[in-house]
Symmetry: C2
Subunit: 359 residues, 2 copies
Amino acid sequence: MSQTRGSSNRPATATDVARIAGVSQSAVSRAFTPGASIAAETKLRIIEAARTLGYRPNAIARSLITRRSRVIGLVAAYLQNHFYPDVLELMSRRFQALGYHILLFTADAAAHADPVMEEILAYRVDGLILASTTLSSALAADCRAAGIPVLLFNRTARASQVSSVTGENERGGRLIGEFLIAGGHRRFGFVAGVEVSSTSQDRERGFRAAMAAHGLPEPLRAVGHYTFDGAAAAARTLLSRPDRPDAIFCGNDHMALAISEVARFEFGLKVPQDVSLVGFDDVGPARWASFSLTSFSQPVSTMVDRAVEVMIEQIEGEAPVPRDVIVPGELIVRGSARVPAGCVSINGQLVWRPEGSAP
Amino acid sequence: MSQTRGSSNRPATATDVARIAGVSQSAVSRAFTPGASIAAETKLRIIEAARTLGYRPNAIARSLITRRSRVIGLVAAYLQNHFYPDVLELMSRRFQALGYHILLFTADAAAHADPVMEEILAYRVDGLILASTTLSSALAADCRAAGIPVLLFNRTARASQVSSVTGENERGGRLIGEFLIAGGHRRFGFVAGVEVSSTSQDRERGFRAAMAAHGLPEPLRAVGHYTFDGAAAAARTLLSRPDRPDAIFCGNDHMALAISEVARFEFGLKVPQDVSLVGFDDVGPARWASFSLTSFSQPVSTMVDRAVEVMIEQIEGEAPVPRDVIVPGELIVRGSARVPAGCVSINGQLVWRPEGSAP
DNA sequence: TTGAAAGCGTTACCAT
DNA sequence: ATGGTAACGCTTTCAA
């Protein structure tokens, strides 16, 4: 309907449109540039001509000259973890609304994102978001040199010139520790995610700080690598011990689900009567009655908002400085861990806020 | 380290590299074009110069002239459904390995993908994949005119010039019907996904065909819109009836999980003693002991392979014709539905293959 | 308001 | 094997 040319022909260009509208090619450009100086009447004629030809401005040519691709590179891993699809979907929507789009790269989970980065940089993305991945400081330097802002999502980097958006990993870990201690547990376990990740380290540090503050021994420990199978294996290790923990802080919800499965169906344990389980993230399945998982929340929507906000500021702002944003969460209380005193109901949801820990 | 210029400067171009390597800009281009005619020695000198400058070929400029962006537009919805993150991750990896990348768009689930399409086409993607979405035939025509191959993933289109990759929706639905009938059930229920989707329609048609073939009445019916909450609501409707079904075919696993939750925790029903549940997709959580879901499989890895294969053929092949690929699945038998005779164990996994239904 | 012309950073096609 | 030059389709001066 909108095309008289066959499929072998090339898409219409601004020059084609200019010809049949009887204007210059520059005029066509202006017709598609909001706020450009053009007479309403000519603009109308051009738009009309464009429609007959099925013309759309070529974003590639535009990027070449404006030096802005309006594309954000996003490196993701762990898409099995329900947290990330949510992040991806929201982030894509927010950026879409701002005229940006996401070029998706997948990286191997436990490694730096370096290998795929070469390709990303070739696309001249306006910004780079690493979700649950990090990059070498060499590459971070390359990005800085190329003027490409980098943002780590759910990770922090030691001292690079990159921004980050995370949840309250350390506070969350500590609160979970306090919560389990208050619940009267005695033998604590911790299932780490990827050991080198700042997120896992921060959560563990907070958790251990709580133990230490109460003069309790260090928690037992296993590594789940943030994967379902890894966590299941970690659970088997922990739960096979004669002195098996009566409370386990699982490094994130995705692992907590696996651990809950293993505890109940392989070891025949009752949760929380035999073992209390607490996760981190508060993803969708945590709410499912099958799991009813107590978890420290990382509010995806807010985290994404802040990430988009910071990224846009880095891209469009004058001389922006990297920012580290921490998005506050809550200890969401459900049924997978024994419940101590001190819970309050917020909007119908039980949360744990011991005195003096208001977020 | 690799840059002496400040961050405000522009990234190095081939001309910059040419200058310090003492060659022409064309030579630089050849140095980065595999198989181009260039002396090994000059190439080395150029690569070296490129490294000192931190030069990377600009993919945007390249796309402009080659008319190939090496970008595939992917429109996704339903990222909460575990099926799609898996698809996304695998697809991204496969394309990455072939030098293509994915530009991600999110669309509203139940609607055509038309609104975002304008933006997609501006990026001059080499191909377009719609995962669980469709497009209007007008837009399909636009894509054909623009020479952009379109592939529907997990959907089919009536008669457009687009390719598709799906599972065995109709056969799966029929097999599930046969399976439940063989299991001795009497009152059947079906929870549809998005009613206008080919996938939901095909599954339902197969299911009803099985009922009809056995002279059984039509199944009760509710619509879950392929969402968790929608399916939960549908389950409440169905299970509240005095003649509540003793077997429900849930349009996909994502909905089956919701229905299982509602049946067990809200209605106190035992699965499968009080009600049998069968899903479709065989996603990860179907295997979890909490659900142990019987489900007709859609092998993600194979489906993605075929999708990538078809897409590459459409992009790179001579005069390719649209293809409709159906990837065979199996009825994976677990504990959520009463098990009739006729199950066989394949690689340690129970599947149902009544005589004469070998895939 | 409009048009002409100069790029943007490549690849492709000539010559050499 | 190499260099020069013309595109690619647009935005952005700069004059008119």
